[in-house]
Symmetry: C2
Subunit: 426 residues, 2 copies
């Protein structure tokens, strides 16, 4: 690997080799990398590595890692189409290396030359790959900017679905922390590895693109959790019970990947759309509501996550089943009732969000919530109708504020020698 | 355990029992808690639990966990001395429960009554204790406020060392994100567990105290790292090589714990002082400097962390050893030269800081840095002189801005039936 440098220390210390040629589709298959320093099984989860190349970008159906660093970028006003292509090529090269546990640049964090800045910033030296995935997306403004200008000659290839999300009732968006020409989702078991990836990709972009907004997230109990343990959001409820699972291949094909059809979106076939919503959860108010009220609003029990109509977490709710007084046990305006696929034309999402805490406000209230990420085949069918309904009717809305938003087209995966989004420029 | 509630689900799911009676000193000894859902050794690190009670508070010499949530609180202007005592009593009770893997309140996250808010917010249901420690501190303003008022009748017991830190050259402090009447340091392997602790302790304080400022941090490679692996800061260098280690008992006694002597500080004997400094690291500028320059500024190699005079990381620097041209190999104004105990009257610190990233500024630069925490026996000998020197001479200062600051007295540990800081009110 390129990571071996002066002094014989490799980029992440003790990683011997990574099977980078495997190019496994969609990151579903993971390679375990030996680590001579590890003491037993405890390090196995951190030593997980996913190949960057594949039919789909990794970080979509890849089992969700514990930590997130997400960044949206705006291109420099002076950047040309050639600059954009060069940036995507440089980012792809760096992402290949980073996901394999190497440095961001060809030399690594301990530059061969003492008299030049190292081509990697070094804070991940000695850390295992930690299941890092790096997923790139293109925002609507890459094709048509706010003034309708076709900045890079790409407007003719802008998919109809890739338009700024509409204003939803009760949106309180910070527009400086929304949208963006490009986005990168970096996920890893270790936040330092995710931060290292975003930081180095930001550095590579210098002079061509700069971060517009960014978000750190956490929220998985632990990579050691048994499969199918639904994580909890900061309202204390399991969140994502109905989310698509990676192994539901036919459903993933139907609800996540972009299929052939629209000519100008041909470059996006095999890709997806990433919907990002930063949702401030007003935890102080929520915490003052009774358990009964909390469960009524969600439509599920807090302990098990079971529908209030009975059964276990993964049993389907019975929306007709009456309780005392003849009212349905599951309130029709509960979150589960409004969001359930049976009430939304069968639509399902692959959710991949994270909890966040961004400190506190001047009154000492936590700036906490959910950084919602969903991957869908088409936001016009799979997100906008549902969010329109939720923002109008959901009992939960009283406790939520949508403060950030973004929609990005996520190109398909990258083959050997290719750069991400290459088909867009063909 | 109190955590067993409706439906037979315990506070953190599958934890069978925790040996809470052990009251082991300083959290140096850890109990492993069985987790029926775990698959092999991989979960052992998360199942680590430390008793809250002991001769010293846990979270000081406890091996540093991966994640931090730190919060400083101000008491409500209307709060009385009795309110303060009641708060400390309530916080202590909750901390005992939380560190044992139970809920914040006596009932747990799934309240016995449907018609009352649960006495725990629930986002840690099912999570193991994750090595949680909760450490409480008292700021100077608890004793004498900015106007010199003795708010709670405690001024006569304010230690001479517990005064606001002086202004250091180049300080750019945000005073709204500095100081505070009280502080809580919550550390855990899982950020959701640390956040859960701060959130519930904040909720318990409602009407009596509110968060003034707070900070999330990360920065340990992994709980699986071998002992004595020095973590790296966001300049890519190992940080804390010279920090005191828990097993250096005589040195810990000398440099960390408050010893008997000053009558008005008798309540603090066996405690310590926590120095918190939020240090913004200007990573974009640093990343443009050559490896030679970076190593000269630190005084150590980037790869190994060895002194530039030669040897390995833990070898002592030879500050006199000349290189080419007769100049010392270790620059006298390098960080290691200025900070080394031999140049500071033998003073050593127990460092326990974390890296942080708080998003980005309007120019796309990461708001990244080090949340420095050190525990010392006396800030007048163990922090102020060193920081005065560093802020004037350290080559590293060009790349740093101190933007937040706090000094807190950390009372000794709590015995059965006691509350934290109880001796202060005796």
């Amino acid at each position: 690997m390129a990571g071996t440098v002066r002094g014989g220390l490799s980029r992440r210390g003790l990683i011997s080799s990574v099977g980078a040629g495997a190019a496994l589709a969609g990151g579903l298959t993971a390679a375990f990398v030996g680590d001579a320093a590890s003491s037993g099984n405890a390090s196995a989860v951190d030593d997980l590595s996913y190949p960057f190349e594949g039919a789909h970008q990794a970080g979509i159906v890849t089992p969700a890692q514990d930590r997130l660093h997400f960044a949206a970028f705006d291109l420099d006003p002076r950047a040309t189409g050639d600059d954009l292509i060069a940036l995507l090529r440089d980012w792809t090269d760096a992402a290949r290396r980073l996901c394999a546990g190497s440095g961001a640049g060809p030399v690594g964090p301990l530059s061969g030359s003492y008299d030049a800045p190292p081509d990697d910033t070094g804070e991940a030296i000695g850390l295992p790959p930690s299941g890092l995935t790096i997923t790139f997306g293109f925002g609507p403004s890459l094709f048509t900017d706010a003034d309708g200008v076709d900045r890079f000659g790409l407007a003719a290839r802008q998919p109809d679905a890739l338009r700024p999300l509409p204003h939803f009732p009760a949106d309180k968006l910070n527009h400086l922390a929304s949208d963006g020409d490009l986005c990168i989702q970096a996920c890893a078991q270790d936040p330092q590895v995710a931060v290292h990836a975003i930081r180095n990709l930001t550095r590579i972009a210098m002079g061509r693109a700069a971060i517009r907004w960014s978000q750190l997230g956490f929220g998985r109990t632990s990579s050691t959790a048994a499969a199918h343990v639904t994580p909890r959001n900061l309202f204390g409820f399991k969140d994502g019970t109905m989310s698509l699972r990676a192994e539901e291949t036919p459903a993933i094909d139907e609800h996540v990947w972009v299929r052939p059809g629209e000519a100008k979106a041909s470059w996006l076939v095999g890709g997806s759309y990433l919907v990002a919503r930063k949702i401030h959860m007003i935890v102080e108010t929520w915490d003052r509501s009774s358990l009964r009220e909390q469960e009524r609003i969600i439509g599920r029990t807090k302990a098990e996550g079971a529908p209030l109509s009975g059964g276990k977490e993964f049993d389907q709710p019975d929306f007709a089943l009456p309780g005392r007084g003849g009212q349905p046990l599951v309130d029709p305006t509960s979150h589960v009732a409004l969001a359930h696929p049976t009430h939304n034309s069968g639509v399902r999402m692959l959710r991949r969000g994270y909890n966040f805490v961004d400190g506190n406000d001047a009154l000492g209230r936590l700036l906490a919530g959910l950084f919602f990420i969903a991957f869908v085949t088409d936001p016009r069918t799979h997100y906008i109708p549902l969010q329109t309904k939720l923002s109008q009717q959901d009992l939960l809305s009283e406790y939520l504020q949508h403060i950030g938003s973004g929609l990005f087209a996520v190109p398909p995966g990258v083959g050997p020698g290719e750069f991400v989004g290459q088909a867009l420029f063909a």
